[in-house]
C-alpha cells in the first residue's frame, strides 16, 4: 500500500524560453489538446503593448495578462497578486501555466513560490520547461545571460525548430545544452510537438537542485552586494578605492549600537545578515549623500554615494567611539579594490565578519521594446516592403517582433511573429462588423529606434 500523503497543491508549470523559441506555440498546443484539465494561464510580456493574448488561441482557459514589466523583476508582485486571487478561486482551476517573457530569469519567478506563505501552501512548482530555438540558440546563449539561466534552471528542455538545423548542428547544440544542465530531460521538437505527459504533471522540480544551481536561490535580494563588520577604535580611518567598473559606489557605515540587539543575542555574522542587512536595506532606500575624493564619511544612518572616477581616491572616516561598525557596499569591494586602514598608518584592516548578499538582478538595459498601436488598415504591398527592408538591415538586432495587423481588404486579423530574420504569419480571428480595426505590434531588441519604426509603420497605412 502506498502510504505517501498525496500533495493536493495545484501544480504550476513555468514555461520559459528565449524570445521566439516557440513558447506561445507550445502553449497553444497544450490548450488545444483534450487533457481534461482546467488550466489557468498567466501571460507575461516584455513588450510595452500586450499582444500575446491575441496569439493564444480562443480557449475555455482564462488568460491572465501581465504586461507591466518583466515577471522576474518588479512584476513578481503582480504574479503574487494574480496567483493569490487564483487560489481563492481554486474550484475553477486545477493547473496553472505561467508563460514568462523571453527575457525572464526563471530563478526569481520560481523563487516567488517559496517566498510567499500563502502561495507555498496552495501551489507547487511542477517543472520549469524551457524552449530553445535550435536555429538561434548559440547566439542567444553567447549574448544573453537570461538564456543561460533559462537552460540552467530547466527541468525539461525542448530543442525546438529542429527542422531549421542540420543533424550535426543539433547534436553540437545538445552537447552544449547538456554541458550547462545535465539533469534536465531534453526533447527534440518541431513546432513544439511533444506528448503532454512530458510537460505537465511531471513532478520534476526539485528545490535542492535549484539550490545547487544557485545556493542563494531562497535568499532575498538586496540593493547591496557586500556587508562587513569592522572592530574600530576611536580615531580617524581612511577608506581607499581604485577606479572600478562604475563611476560611483553607494555605501553606508553605521555603529552596532544603532541596531535593536545586543552582542550576546547572536553572533556578529548572524547580526550582519539579519538586523544589519535590514537596516542597510532601509538606508539604501533613502536619498544618497554625494561625496568626492577627500571628503569625510560620518558613521550614521545615511547612504553615501562615493565618486570613484579617479584612479585612486581616499575618504576619511571619523570614529567617535570604539566598537563594531557595519559597512555595506553596493558592489563587491574587490571590484574597486576597497581597503580600510587607520590614518596613522599600519596594515589594511580586515572585517571580523563579512557576507556576500544576493543583489537585485539586472537586465541588459540595451534591450528594449517599441510598441505601436494604431487604428487603420495597412497596404499589404507597402507593409511587405517595409518589413523586408527592416529585417534585412536590422534583423540581427530585432530579437523578436509580433503583432496583430489589420490588412486592407482582409476580413480577418493577420497575426504574425518573427525572430531575427525569420518571419511567420497567418490569418487570425475575424474582425467584428463594428469593431475598431487596430494594429498592435511590438519589437523587442537592441538599439531600436522608436521614431524610425513608428514612421516606417505609419507609411504603410492606407
Amino acid at each position: 500500500m502506498d502510504m505517501r500523503v498525496k500533495d493536493r497543491r495545484v501544480p504550476v508549470t513555468v514555461l520559459t524560453g528565449f524570445l521566439g523559441s516557440g513558447k506561445t506555440t507550445l502553449l497553444n498546443r497544450i490548450l488545444s489538446e483534450q487533457h481534461g484539465k482546467r488550466i489557468a494561464v498567466i501571460e507575461n510580456e516584455f513588450g510595452e503593448i500586450g499582444v500575446d493574448h491575441e496569439l493564444v488561441i480562443g480557449a475555455d482557459e482564462e488568460v491572465f495578462e501581465m504586461n507591466n514589466g518583466c515577471i522576474c523583476c518588479t512584476v513578481r508582485g503582480d504574479l503574487i497578486r494574480i496567483l493569490g486571487k487564483l487560489i481563492k478561486r481554486k474550484d475553477q482551476f486545477d493547473y496553472i501555466l505561467i508563460e514568462t517573457t523571453g527575457m525572464a530569469d526563471p530563478g526569481p519567478v520560481i523563487q516567488t513560490f517559496f517566498m510567499d506563505d500563502e502561495l507555498q501552501q496552495a501551489l507547487r512548482v511542477d517543472a520549469c520547461v524551457t524552449l530553445v530555438d535550435a536555429k538561434h540558440a548559440h547566439r542567444q546563449l553567447d549574448e544573453q545571460s537570461e538564456a543561460s539561466e533559462q537552460v540552467a534552471f530547466a527541468d525539461v528542455i525542448l530543442l525546438n525548430k529542429t527542422d531549421l538545423v542540420t543533424p550535426s548542428e543539433l547534436e553540437q547544440l545538445e552537447q552544449r545544452i547538456r554541458s550547462m544542465n545535465a539533469r534536465a530531460g531534453i526533447h527534440h521538437t518541431h513546432q513544439a510537438e511533444l506528448p503532454l505527459e512530458h510537460i505537465l504533471n511531471v513532478e520534476a522540480f526539485n528545490l535542492d537542485e535549484a539550490l545547487e544551481i544557485d545556493p542563494r536561490f531562497l535568499e532575498p535580494e538586496y540593493p547591496f552586494e557586500w556587508g562587513g563588520v569592522y572592530a574600530l577604535s576611536r580615531g580617524s580611518y581612511t577608506l581607499e578605492f581604485l577606479s572600478g567598473p562604475d563611476p560611483s559606489i553607494d555605501i553606508c557605515i553605521f555603529p552596532y549600537r544603532d541596531l535593536e540587539t545586543s552582542p550576546e543575542e547572536a553572533t556578529l555574522n548572524e547580526v550582519l545578515r539579519s538586523q544589519g542587512a535590514e537596516l542597510a536595506a532601509r538606508l539604501f532606500s533613502h536619498e544618497y549623500w554625494p561625496l568626492i575624493d577627500g571628503a569625510t564619511i560620518v558613521p550614521k544612518q545615511r547612504r553615501y554615494r562615493l565618486k570613484t572616477s579617479l584612479e585612486n581616491q581616499k575618504f576619511l572616516i571619523d570614529i567617535p567611539e570604539p566598537g563594531s561598525y557595519f559597512v555595506f557596499t553596493q558592489h563587491m569591494p574587490e571590484e574597486f579594490s576597497m581597503s580600510m586602514k587607520s590614518s596613522t598608518g599600519g596594515p589594511d584592516l580586515s572585517p571580523t565578519a563579512s557576507h556576500e548578499f544576493k543583489p537585485d538582478h539586472e537586465h541588459d538595459d540595451a534591450v528594449t521594446s517599441v510598441g505601436i498601436s494604431t487604428p487603420g488598415r495597412l497596404d499589404v504591398e507597402l507593409l511587405n516592403g517595409w518589413l523586408g527592408t527592416l529585417l534585412r538591415e536590422q534583423g540581427l538586432d530585432i530579437f523578436r517582433m509580433k503583432g496583430v495587423l489589420s490588412i486592407s481588404g482582409q476580413d480577418r486579423r493577420f497575426v504574425f511573429q518573427g525572430v531575427h530574420m525569420l518571419f511567420d504569419g497567418a490569418p487570425g480571428k475575424p474582425w467584428e462588423p463594428n469593431e475598431e480595426r487596430r494594429n498592435s505590434l511590438v519589437f523587442i531588441g537592441r538599439n531600436l529606434n522608436r521614431a524610425e519604426l513608428e514612421k516606417g509603420f505609419r507609411e504603410c497605412l492606407v
Binding site: F64, G77, D78, K88, R89
Partner: protein, 355 residues
C-alpha cells in the same frame, strides 16, 4: 454561516441576516445610513442587500470576470466595481443597472471615492486614474503615473483630496487637483495595503516582507515594525487615530501611536485567541472594539485600548468558513462578516446597545 459562540458579549447569538454570494468575498461596504450593504466577490458578483428587510435588493452575478474592489458613492447613488477586466462599472445603488462603464489600461486592484464623493480613483496597473463627478457621471480628470510597479492599493486622505498610492519602491502621495506627485516616500520593498489614520497624521502600509511601515506624514520619517509571521494585508485604525491594528499572522497586534514618537520603542499589545492565520480585522467606527476573523472561521473581539492588558477575547465564535472580510456599519450597530465560501453574515452588536 451561523455557528457556535463560546461567549457572546459583543454580537447577538444569531445573525440578523445572511446572504450567499458566488465566490470569495472581496469587499463589503455599507451605505452611510446603514440600511444597505454592498458586497462583491472574486467570482465577479456584485450585490446589494437591504439589511432591515433581510433581503437581497439586487444582484449582478457575472458583472466582471472577478471583482477586486467595490465602493459606494452616495452622492451619485452608485456602486463602483473593478477587477480582472480592463474596465470599471458604475451601477445604480438602487437597481443594480449599469449607469456607466469606463475603459481602463489594465486590470484594476482598487477603486475608492473621496469622502465628499467628488473624485473617484482607480488603481489600474502602474497608473492611478482619477475621475471627477458631474452629477451622477464620472469624467476622466487626471492620471497619476510613474509608479515603479503595479499599484497595489490606494486610499484618499480622510476628508481631504490627497491620495496615497502604494507600489513596489515607494508610497506616493498625489493631490486631487494636480497630476504631479505631491510627495514620495521611498522604500525598496513591496507595500500591499495602505491606510491613513483618521487624523491624517500617519500612513500605515502592510508589506510583502512581513513588516508594517508607519510614515509620519508631516516629516516623512518612517518606522518599520517587524516580527510578523507573514506578509501583512490587514490594517485597521481605531476612530481616534491612536491605535493601529495589524494582522500578518495568528496573533493580531495593536500599536499605540500616541505622542510625538508614535509607536517607536513601544511594544505592541498582542491579542491572543486565534488558532489560525487572521485574514481580516476591523476596528469599530466609533468604539474601542476590534474584531478579527481567521482562516478556520474563528471570530474574536477585544477592547485592546483599555488600560488593562486584554486577556481572553470578549467574544469568540466559530463560523463555517474562512472569514476574509469584516466591516462595521457606520453607527456600529451591525457587523458584516464575509467568508471564503461567499456567505455574508450580518450580526447586530450588543456593544452598541450598551454604549
Amino acid at each position: 454561516m451561523s455557528g457556535i459562540a463560546t461567549s457572546s458579549r459583543i454580537l447577538e447569538q444569531e445573525p440578523c441576516a445572511e446572504f450567499q454570494l458566488n465566490g470569495y468575498v472581496s469587499e463589503i461596504c455599507w451605505t452611510p445610513d446603514g440600511s444597505r450593504v454592498a458586497v462583491a466577490s472574486l467570482e465577479g458578483e456584485a450585490a446589494v442587500f437591504d439589511v432591515a428587510a433581510g433581503r437581497r435588493a439586487w444582484s449582478r452575478p457575472e458583472l466582471l470576470f472577478g471583482i477586486s474592489s467595490a465602493a459606494i458613492c452616495t452622492e451619485a447613488g452608485l456602486l463602483g466595481c473593478c477587477g480582472d477586466e480592463k474596465k470599471l462599472s458604475l451601477l445604480s445603488l438602487e437597481s443594480g443597472e449599469t449607469l456607466q462603464e469606463l475603459a481602463l489600461p489594465a486590470w484594476a486592484e482598487r477603486l475608492r471615492f473621496s469622502d465628499d464623493g467628488a473624485l473617484m480613483a482607480v488603481a489600474a496597473g502602474r497608473e492611478v486614474l482619477v475621475y471627477q463627478r458631474e452629477g451622477s457621471v464620472f469624467n476622466p480628470y487626471l492620471t497619476y503615473t510613474e509608479h515603479d510597479s503595479t499599484v497595489s492599493d490606494i486610499a484618499w486622505q480622510p476628508g481631504g483630496d490627497i491620495l496615497a498610492a502604494c507600489a513596489y519602491g515607494a508610497l506616493s502621495l498625489w493631490t486631487g487637483n494636480d497630476a504631479k506627485d505631491h510627495r514620495r516616500f521611498r522604500w525598496k520593498g513591496s507595500s500591499l495595503r495602505v491606510a491613513w489614520s483618521p487624523d491624517s497624521r500617519y500612513l500605515a502600509t502592510g508589506d510583502q516582507d512581513a513588516t508594517v511601515h508607519i510614515w509620519f506624514v508631516d516629516s516623512g520619517k518612517d518606522l518599520q515594525m517587524r516580527g510578523f509571521e507573514t506578509k501583512v494585508l490587514e490594517l485597521s485604525w481605531d476612530h481616534s487615530g491612536r491605535y493601529l491594528a495589524t494582522g500578518g499572522g495568528v496573533v493580531p497586534t495593536v500599536w499605540d501611536c500616541s505622542g510625538k514618537t508614535g509607536p517607536e520603542n513601544r511594544p505592541p499589545v498582542e491579542l491572543f485567541g486565534h488558532k489560525a492565520q487572521v485574514k481580516t480585522l476591523s476596528f469599530a467606527r466609533q468604539h474601542s472594539l476590534l474584531v478579527a476573523g481567521d482562516e478556520i472561521g474563528d471570530l474574536c473581539a477585544w477592547n485592546p485600548t483599555a488600560d488593562e492588558a486584554p486577556g481572553e477575547p470578549l467574544e469568540r465564535r466559530t463560523l463555517s468558513s474562512a472569514l476574509v472580510y469584516s466591516a462595521f456599519s457606520p453607527d456600529d450597530s451591525h457587523l458584516a462578516i464575509g467568508g471564503a465560501d461567499g456567505v455574508v453574515s450580518i450580526f447586530r452588536t450588543r456593544w452598541h446597545e450598551r454604549a
